[in-house]
Amino acid sequence: MTDPQNTAAPAATVYHDQPSANPIKVETRSVSVRYGDTQALHDVSIRIPDRGVTAFIGPSGCGKSTFLRCINRMNDTIDSARVSGSVLIDGEEVNSRAVDPVVLRARVGMVFQKPNPFPKSIYDNVAYGPRIHGLATKREDLDAIVEASLRKAGLWAEVEGRLGMPGTALSGGQQQRLVIARAIAVNPEVILMDEPCSALDPIATARIEELIDELRENYCLIIVTHSMAQAARVSQMTAFFHLGHLVEYGPTEDMFTNPHDARTQDYITGRFG
């Protein structure tokens, strides 16, 4: 394998033709991220369609999670992180001063690698977002939101009648679905998922993947994954990252059957990663 470090000035991103079935929801223009002295992301530009699943793949440390965190400005919480470039949601600049991250994050939900239910009851976990944002004024409204969110996350049947139980008492897969329910309780437009299945067993993974498939009817889903099989199973679009660069982006089928870039080819065929 060639040492990627030595390749001078990496080639520009290869973009496949995009089927224009859905409108563009998220667009970025030359987004770069630095952590202190190290640059983690170089000039990433991408256009992600609404109502579909876009997968970010690539070897670990390639910047895909960093990029994901740019979309809801989670990098703000890291002191040393500096983001440049622009991120547009529905054509609206996210990084502008006028945009309050609080509002932005209500619009762009996020699910993390490790399930992180709050140390509260299942009900309070799901009701957390609606409560802090003041989305429900009456108890019945809140009940309705919680039930609807849990149903959408496919967890209702399992937890009905046990809503007072602490969220941490659920199994790993259930916890992850609880966290998804928590995210969709504020009706976000975009849901970011950072390797949502990497801490789960295969059965729970399958359940989450099913859920992702259901959710894409209504949401713009962006999912970072380690597993190419998963990307192939759940996503319509795939972006391949390598060493902080977006190498190739296109419809999933296209990417897997006909990669244009040699690095993509190597990664997909398992030469490295």
């Binding site: 609080v102 509002v103 209500a106 619009r107 944002h133 003041g134 989305l135 009706n187 009817e217």
Partner: protein
């Protein structure tokens, strides 16, 4: 196809609450900053108040007198033997020397005030000088000694405000000694009379206010008893106000009492203390403290006001006059107070120093270090490297954690009951103090040593074991040296804590007044001693005001020592810290 709520509605709902949420956020952040600011403020106030209080203690006025070492006083048997020299009357010699400065002073109370300017303990120093060098008998030597604490505070300007006003209205002095009358053609004293009257008026105002509040309380009182008590209080206050008022109105001579500011007149090299002022401010009666050169008319004289009433200070007017006169004659010098460092404790603030306590602290710390560090490190090595995971190890561990939180005074009780009463070790000794502090410091040393050992990566151990070293060799040859900086840092911090500890040492009697510092050697370990923090405690309850400054100064010295300890810890940490 979609069951998504219109996103604009949600945004609107969010945005309506947004301002309130951000306000709460800022409030919360403000609380946090306020907490930090409060902590910083406390520290600044604490340190600055101690520094301000300590400053006067670092300088001391020294009185240097020409002392004639009279043979008959110094050597009563006239044989120059040490025995004879030691029987000499040196305090008389000092008295004579001081009296020579003020030949006109003969009154008993004046002389008492004059001799109050130094502590008689100083004659021992003169004695030693003579015993060391009997040749000075018959000669006049320059003898220096610290001036008394009250005079020292006065000369530092901490006792009272003073005002010297140069006047040139002619003033006639009726005599040059005893009771005298000062007469002027102008009302030269009326300004002073007016000021005294002003303070009197202010007093009347406060007393009347007090009467009014007491009366109000009496009117509101719920029980008869309370009403009567309050009414009586009101009556008393009213009567006092009336009396004061009467005094103010009376057009008779104003007698200066100790509750009023003092007025003195300097003229012709002498000082007259004014006792009575005639109305009109032209005539004053007073007493000569230091005789002026002559009586008659003086063109130039100085009005000397001492603002703080004599009742509110420990030093009287007469002593102030003497102290000021000695200072003016250049016999008193303000310099660095070395006594603070070279003397042990004393009942006289001007002679008290921290040397004894410092030596006591050093001796105690040596014992603490010799005991706590080896035992603590040994325990840490055992628990971290060798202890089998069994019940005993578990008990030791829980035990150490609990021991770390046992109040320090309980260790003092342990020391009293076990070391002193059971083993019969000497009270007040650095040995016992060191033992007690060592037991108290042990948990700190153990916990930090364990942390240091734990921080050594297992790969070091495995590497050593891998080349055939025994477990003991791996630990002592490889792990321990690498953990040493951490162990030392923890131990020094523990010792610094022990250095500042007071309560347990009170229990074992290290709180006694000890005028001789313990010997700096093996014998010192069993001699009665005190340590710095206990010295601070003792001085803080000293009655003399000068001890306040001494206490603060001792605190600064102790803090400096602790800073030194911690600096050593930080240096070790940065010098030897390794990262893996």
């Amino acid at each position: 196809m979609t069951d998504r709520a219109p996103s604009s509605d949600i945004r609107k709902a969010i945005e309506t609450r947004l301002a309130r949420r951000h306000r709460a956020e800022r409030r919360f952040q403000f609380y946090g900053m306020a907490a930090i600011a409060l902590a910083v403020l406390f520290l600044v106030v604490l340190l600055s108040s101690i520094i301000v209080q300590a400053l006067p203690a670092f300088t001391q006025h020294t009185l240097t007198l020409p002392v004639r070492v009279e043979a008959e006083l110094a050597d009563p048997q006239d044989d120059r033997s040490e025995e004879s020299l030691r029987a000499g009357s040196y305090s008389r010699m000092l008295q004579v020397a001081l009296q020579d400065q003020f030949p006109s002073v003969t009154g008993r109370s004046e002389l008492r005030a004059l001799f109050g300017l130094y502590s008689s303990v100083n004659s021992a120093k003169l004695l030693n000088q003579v015993v060391e060098n009997p040749d000075i008998i018959g000669e006049t030597i320059e003898f220096s000694m610290p001036i008394s604490d009250d005079a020292d505070l006065y000369l530092k300007g901490l006792t009272t405000d003073e005002r010297f006003v140069d006047r040139n209205e002619p003033l006639t002095l009726s005599g040059a000694e005893g009771e005298v009358t000062l007469t002027a053609s102008d009302p030269v004293f009326s300004a002073f009379i007016e000021e005294v009257n002003d303070t009197l008026r202010a007093r009347i105002q406060t007393v009347s206010d007090r009467a009014a509040t007491a009366q109000a309380r009496a009117d509101r009182a719920e029980t008869e008893d309370a009403r009567q008590a309050a009414a009586a209080g009101a009556e008393r206050a009213r009567r006092e106000a009336d009396q004061l008022e009467e005094r103010l109105q009376a057009r008779e001579a104003l007698s200066l009492s100790p509750e009023m500011a003092s007025l003195l007149v300097r003229l012709g090299g002498g000082v007259v203390q004014i006792t009575q002022l005639e109305p009109g401010g032209r005539v004053a009666r007073g007493e000569v403290v230091i005789a002026p050169e002559r009586d008659g008319v003086y063109q130039d004289w100085t009005e000397w006001r001492i603002e703080t009433p004599a009742a509110g200070r420990r030093i009287g007017d007469v002593q102030i006059v003497f102290a000021r006169a000695l200072d003016d004659r250049g016999l008193v010098e303000n310099g660095l107070n070395l006594i603070l460092f070279t003397n042990a404790d004393s009942r006289e603030p001007e002679l008290a120093g921290v040397r004894g306590a410092l030596i006591g602290s050093v001796l105690t710390m040596i014992i603490t270090m010799l005991m706590a560090v080896p035992i603590g490190v040994g325990t840490a090595i055992y628990l971290e490297e060798f202890a089998p995971r069994n019940r005993l190890s578990e008990i030791i561990e829980v035990n150490i954690n609990n021991l770390a939180a046992v109040p320090s005074i309980v260790f003092g009780l342990l020391g009293l009951a076990v070391f002193i009463n059971t083993f019969g070790m000497p009270r007040s000794a650095p040995l016992v103090g060191g033992f007690v502090l060592a037991l108290m410091t042990l948990p700190t040393v153990i916990i930090s040593s364990r942390a240091a050992l734990k921080a050594v990566p297992p790969s070091i151990r495995e590497a050593a074991l891998g080349v055939g070293a025994s477990r003991m060799q791996a630990v002592f040859g490889h792990v321990l040296p690498m953990a040493m900086p951490g162990i030392l840092t923890g131990s020094i911090i523990g010792l610094a804590q022990a250095l500042g500890e007071t309560a347990p040492l009170l229990m074992i009697g290290m709180v006694a007044f000890i005028a001789d510092p313990p010997t700096m050697g093996v014998a010192g370990f069993t001699e009665p001693a005190t340590v710095m923090p206990v010295q601070i405690f003792l001085w803080s309850s000293g009655a003399e005001r000068a001890f306040e400054a001494k206490t603060a100064a001792a605190i600064l010295i102790l803090l400096a020592l602790m800073v030194l300890f911690n600096a050593a810890a930080i240096y070790l940490r940065s010098r030897f810290e390794r990262r893996w």
